[in-house]
Amino acid sequence: MSAGSIPNSPVGSRVPMVDSFEKVTGAGKYADDLVLPGTLVGKILHSPHAHARIRRLDASRAGQLPGVFAVVTGKETPVKYGILPIGHDERIFADDKVRYIGDNVAGVAAESAEIAEEALRRIRVEYEILPAHLDLEKSMRAESNLIHDGRPHNIEKEYHHHFGDVEAGFKAADLVRFDRFDCAEVTHAALEPHSTLASFDDDGKLTVWSSTQVPYYLMKTLAATLEMPEENVRVIKPLVGGGFGGKSEVIPLELAAAVLARKAGRPVKITYTREEVFYAHRGRPRTIVELKTGVRRDGRLTAVEGRVIQDGGAFCGYGPVTMLYSGQLLNALYDIPNVKYDGYRVLTNKPACGAMRGHGTVNVRYAFETHLDMIAAGLGIDPAEIRRRNLLKPPCVTINGLRILSYGYPECLERVAEASNWSEKRGKLPFGKGIGIAGSHYVSGAANPIIRSDQPHSTVNLELDGEGTATILTGASEIGQGSDTVQAQIVAHELGIALDRVKIVAADTARTPIDLGSYSSRVTFMAGNAALAAAREAKRQILNAAATYFDVPAERLVLEDGRIFEAGNRAKALPLAQAVLLAAKPETVLRATGSYSTPAEARGGKYKGAGVGPSPAYSYSAQVAEVSVDVETGQVTVERIYAAHDCGKAINPLTVEGQVEGSVWMGLGQALEEEMVWKNGRLMNAGLLEYRSASTLDSPEIRPILVESADPEGPLGAKEAGEGSLAAVIPAVANAIYDAVGVWMTTLPITPERILKALEEKQRRTGS
């Protein structure tokens, strides 16, 4: 059923987010706003060394300080953890070794921040300094003083995939091109710093309020590391002030607050300073991408070989997943018959990298889309045209096993070309002004869960009362992206009630059903489908009860505007509230459950690593960037971005546009200025003044264009909207710079100095 057929439905309309009032008025509570009676301040002692053995640790003088209630060191936290079952290499506090500047050595809980800091100063640690592995390419050749046992050459993981026959593909090509790209390490820079409040009750049950995207995984990790039964651990997610992936795995403070609270016998809250947020990191790794591509004279791609090396930092984290997304999504936007991928995740003595908006795809997409423009330039084919000539023909399964049903990419390309007046501008603007195009895509939820299990990815419970109010109980995590709003809209739509008749209780592991969390852009698709299923089940029960009341078959009844009537006879209507009571009898609350599991066909192939990349549906983006380049200073000004995004169905165009604009911004930051700069393992820009993220004031004009390809399995046709747009903006800008001044920018960020250098080199080469 198409959403448009229901009058007054909130689906498809630009409704403000359901939690916007409390956010705008400041009434909403984030983790750091929460205080329980007797709450102590927790602080963590961080390693000053990038790589060192802990010889001796004496915390006795810290414990003696009046006002200190707990001191915990690595000896008391033996259980290893990590977000991936194959990567349990972290401890709450280090036991024998520290592996990066900022590594967690000990924790204290005290009456005040000042006392806690004084207590940290009283902890004596004797370190034996080890040689640190700081350079990515050197680290992967290291023989001794390795970062972890069982990781020869500091290689966390490597993947080697070969589909089809690339050698044959290169033979069939008229042109084979090789390029190397280098992308700097970047971080999320969410405005809300990580914060966790942990409290034990008298029965030894733990409740944790945390700024997390993954309450369910946090609950499991707390139980494992504190060696408690899972039923005694409750995780509640208050409002979250942005995550972007930085809160999508368990962050050390979340566990530290809990162990400290247990030892202190009082609630403990830890809120990271901005500097600690930078060192906790888990952002996008520095990535070297080497691409070799074969192409026929007509622009048809015959083979792609990619070699990707990522600087993962000191722990596994999401590393193997990042590595796999980089390979799996390399060839899934276009039809490429032969593909080879070699990926290396390398350990270094720096904070661990992890998931960040566009997880795994962004750097490779930047490289590929720029490389594709270089190829097009070599062949004399228009960049928009070469993309058109390599489209997939869905429904299809890509050579590496990704099933694709809906594919709005061609429409995205057409819409941005048209809106930007592409054919009138490309190659025709005055020197210094340029226009560039690029595409991207992303998963609408990982088809396979992080921890293997047969249970649904999302479950939503719905309760309707005798006043016709619906309450959604969902484990899905609102982190500002609109998770709650989308579920409320879907339920209101399906039940024919106003949005303000829908209440939502979310992300509380003791009260809400299991949901895997806010990562891999899975919420609208998976929790949305679960909400839709729950609402349909409730509606079925209601209409059945009403059918008895009217004595007509249920199929003849219509539920609309809070009333039920026989089609064509609005005059005789049964109010929804009354029907709910009839349906609920003998109870007074009607309950329905819906859940979502990925279909088997969407879960991918059988080879090693096949589990990452498959998704029930993919979003698509095409973007056009217009830039001007000051050739004297190297300053690039992005004048305008046209961003078409195929989200399947815009359940809320307002929030989809917000996500597209946010992605564009974030991508522009990475394209032009963001870079974590390290010196001897120390971050040189661990603050928002030094680490430059684009602000609203820096935003160019962004014209979002929504493309609705109506995915057959998406809730009302919807797919993801929060991540896919990010990757396209970077190559669109790089390609526009080429159009403006004739240089290819293969290193991120594209700084003014790099532009000047490229211009000088061009001048030296061509004498012009």
């Binding site: 030094e690 430059r692 000047l756």
Partner: protein
Amino acid sequence: MISESFEYHVPKTIEEALGMIGEFGDESKVLAGGHSLLPMMKLRLASPKHLIDIGRIGALRYIRESEGQLELGALTTHFEIESSSLLKSKCPLLPETAREIGDVQVCNRGTLGGSLVHADPAADWPAAMLAVEAEMVARGPHGERKIRARDFFVDLMATALQSDELLTAIRVSPLPARTGDAYLKLHHPASGFAVVGVAVRLTLAESGSIGEARVGVTGVGAKPYRAEETERLLAGKSPTAKRLEEAAAHAADGVDANSDLYASGDYRKHLAAVYARRAIQRAAERAAGR
């Protein structure tokens, strides 16, 4: 971070303030708009035991014309300068410079005097002060003295003002005939301070050639400076594009340039030449229009 604790004093008059400075000596700091000092205290780069808030001394806050000179009290805020119609007509370089500073909060609180005494190497005012050959008026226990702008800036965050002195006023001469000025700046993308800022005051002779050009440069080195070689190459020349470019190329001669995460020393020097040429060009065009 939170600053160390301190004692807070509010003098009502210049004399009272000077008395306090004398009494507390090196343990004290004068507080004006606080937009440089308070961040330093929070980072514990400054930890005065006594804070002397001169912000309520009305006698330090004015813009007036006297004896053919323009005079600004040290407490005059960036916004007051930006919006002064007197300055817009008589010394437009100052409002033009003020417009480039910080954000609304900074402009409403930050003061000209505070900025000059703080002497941040990336601050905007020093370039303009050098270009208009401003005179700083200082009051200390031994009375009043005047310091020329080119003698005022001594080094990185160091000025000729003595620790027992208060900067009370800044004097500048109004724009003479056939003279134009201009301030051009590359904003640091995060802090907004000047990566490079160039202020120019340029007078054309009757013949149309350049009579005198004064070029103040900030952001490039440890302290702001006059680009003397550039000025020398401009004097007496007709302002053709080629001449301006040749002269501007020397805007950072001999300077030991700052280098940070945003811009290397070489890039700064390159920018100094580009911005100098553009600012000189603009000033020359304006001079021709007067």
